[in-house]
């Protein structure tokens, strides 16, 4: 259920503009990897390239390879739709489908690609996914109510439930807590620690305390200046990055000297 990601010489372009340059790294299965760095340094772009979501933006393209347990997801004939079923994504702003109930939201991904599932299986899946997202107890009595009626933190956990209902190998999270209050943030962080047992998790965050709290490894992205490409400056064990970074730029950033 959990796979390793190998990134080799990844360059990401928006049209002719090089946004991320020469990233090579390995993300271990069953771990949480945090990506930190100042705004505009390319960490979200890099995250999106891990499930080909950057292709939604016109003109975006990549060079290099991203392998999922040895399978290149940019290889010839690879269907981005199938890549995204293996590599799920949770967004910055909670985005449950407003026209769907809580239950329908959880099943939204499962019912895609002409899949039919039995009613009993669907109910089991709804329950297990919502339990997996620590949301079951709060919503079990109102599964048919609209998902948009939940609080922000609950909506975000609903989105996580929707993502894990598809049973992906990897879950990408793009600043999943930046729109949440501290208590909801704690709930999502606790959830990440549990999800780590089954999934490879990559999270982009602006909150360095969060990166230090939840992640096993941390990558620091930086740009040298406006118009320059973002680079992965340092990638190491989280404790090393926050206590004894090898690079000067990393140390400056985590000690709050810039960014």
């Amino acid at each position: 259920m959990s796979k390793q990601i190998d990134v080799k010489d990844l360059n990401i372009y928006y049209g002719d503009f090089l946004a991320v340059q020469d990233v090579s790294t390995t993300i271990a299965p069953r771990s949480i990897t945090a990506l930190i760095g100042p705004s505009g340094c390319g960490k979200s772009t890099f995250l999106r390239a891990l499930n080909r979501m950057h292709e939604v933006i016109p003109g975006a393209k990549v060079k290099g390879s991203v392998e999922l347990d040895g399978q290149d997801m940019y290889g010839r004939g690879v269907d981005p739709v199938l890549v995204r079923r293996k590599v799920g994504m949770v967004f910055q702003k909670p985005n449950p489908f407003p026209t769907m109930s809580i239950k329908e939201n959880v099943l939204a991904g499962v019912k895609l690609n002409n899949k039919r599932i039995k009613k009993s299986e669907a109910e089991e899946l709804v329950e297990s996914s919502l339990k997996g997202a620590n949301l079951w107890n709060e919503v079990k009595d109102r599964l048919d109510k609209p998902g948009s009626g939940l609080s922000g933190g609950q909506q975000q956990r609903l989105c996580i439930a929707r993502t894990i209902a598809v049973k992906p190998e990897v879950v990408l999270m793009d600043e999943p807590c930046s729109a949440l209050d501290p208590i909801s943030t704690l709930a999502v962080e606790d959830l990440m620690a549990e999800l780590k047992n089954d999934y490879t998790i990559v999270i982009v965050t602006h909150n360095m305390q969060q990166a230090a709290r939840v992640s096993d490894k941390t990558g620091f992205f930086n740009i040298e200046g406006t118009g320059k490409p973002g680079k992965l400056v340092e990638y190491d064990e989280t404790s090393k990055i926050f206590n004894n970074p090898s690079e000067k730029a990393t140390e400056d950033y985590i000690s709050g000297r810039f960014g």
Binding site: R84, R85, G88, N95, T99
Partner: protein, 317 residues
């Protein structure tokens, strides 16, 4: 702000405006009166229709045109109006959704904007042109098509007999083409406004583009699609010129659409007969106009009801 602090006036002066802000008041007055003008106009039109139609409503059936009473005169026209408008809507709705989707989600950007202009241009063509085109080009061109429909779908109650270039089907199709631009324009705007967040949510779950459209674009755009359809339907119900030119009406009821045996529409009937009418005949025509007025009112209320039915799930909360 004066230096004399003996009274409490100066301190308060900074925070009080004397209870009025001219800009706000002017704007409130303008928007309130704009709203009132609409209501008044609607009321005046309804009152005029009732007043002018009244003599026909109470007249002796034998005096009404056709000699069998008001209901006998208006009912076929009502049926004809609804038929033509329904054919138009059934043609234009899927087409407009398709074109709008192509422009908003499939076409390359340059082609999309060119196509958008083209559709807007179509909206600017006067209805009399559509009427002339319908009777000189589409009508004759539809003869073999209608013949084919009779041959292959003749078992349906809609096709049979001798096809006419001035049939209800041709009229409905021309109306459909006429209401296509407005519906396409509305749908395109609605589809373009689908929140990026919802589209990405769907794609990130592994949806294909079509599945994303079904999951994110259509649910978001549903009320807009219905509003656009109602705008189009309203125009089709009230369209006069094109129908008056194309349709060759009779006063029978039939479900067959490809012959010249269908009743006319209210709007076209008024336009064709009003110049030569006088006395009770004028009142009869106004009465049919009153029926058309209520029909569009009912259609609009029905549409609003559909839109509001699942407002809890609309995403507005």
């Amino acid at each position: 702000m004066s230096t004399s602090t003996q009274t409490r006036e100066p301190a308060a002066a900074e925070l009080t405006t004397g209870g009025r802000r001219f800009g706000d008041q002017i704007f409130r007055g303008l928007s309130t009166s704009a709203g009132l003008v609409i209501l008044t106009a609607l009321f005046l039109v309804a009152a005029f229709l009732l007043w002018q139609a009244w003599p026909a409503l109470v007249a002796d059936p034998a005096d009404v045109r056709g000699g069998k009473g008001l209901v006998h005169y208006i009912a076929p026209l009502l049926v004809g109006t609804v038929m033509a408008a329904l054919i138009a809507l059934l043609t234009a709705l899927p087409l407009s959704i398709g074109i709008a989707l192509f422009i908003s989600h499939y076409a390359p950007r340059r082609l999309a904007s060119a196509l958008g202009y083209l559709v807007d241009l179509l909206a600017a063509v006067p209805s009399v042109i559509f009427g002339l085109w319908g009777i000189t080009v589409l009508g004759p061109g539809m003869i073999p098509v209608q013949g084919g429909l009779v041959d292959y779908l003749g078992w349906l109650p809609f096709f049979g007999g001798t096809s006419s270039p001035r049939s209800m089907l041709v009229t409905g199709l021309v109306l459909g083409i006429m209401i296509l631009p407005i519906m396409t324009a509305v749908n395109r705007e609605v589809f373009l406004q689908t929140p990026r967040l919802h589209e990405e949510a769907s794609l990130a779950l592994g949806a294909t583009r079509w599945e994303m459209i079904k999951q994110a674009v259509f649910p978001f755009g549903k009320s807009g699609i219905i509003s656009g359809a109602m705008l189009g339907l309203g125009r089709a119900l009230g369209e006069t010129m094109a129908v008056a030119i194309i349709l060759s009406p009779s006063v029978r009821y039939t479900s067959v659409l490809n012959t010249s045996g269908n009743p006319g529409t209210i709007a076209a009937d008024i336009a064709l007969n009003f110049p030569e009418s006088s006395g009770i005949d004028v009142n009869t025509l106004v009465a049919s106009g009153l029926v058309l007025f209520f029909l569009t009112l009912v259609v609009n209320m029905f549409a609003r009801w559909i839109v509001s039915r699942r407002s809890e799930f609309s995403g507005a909360n």
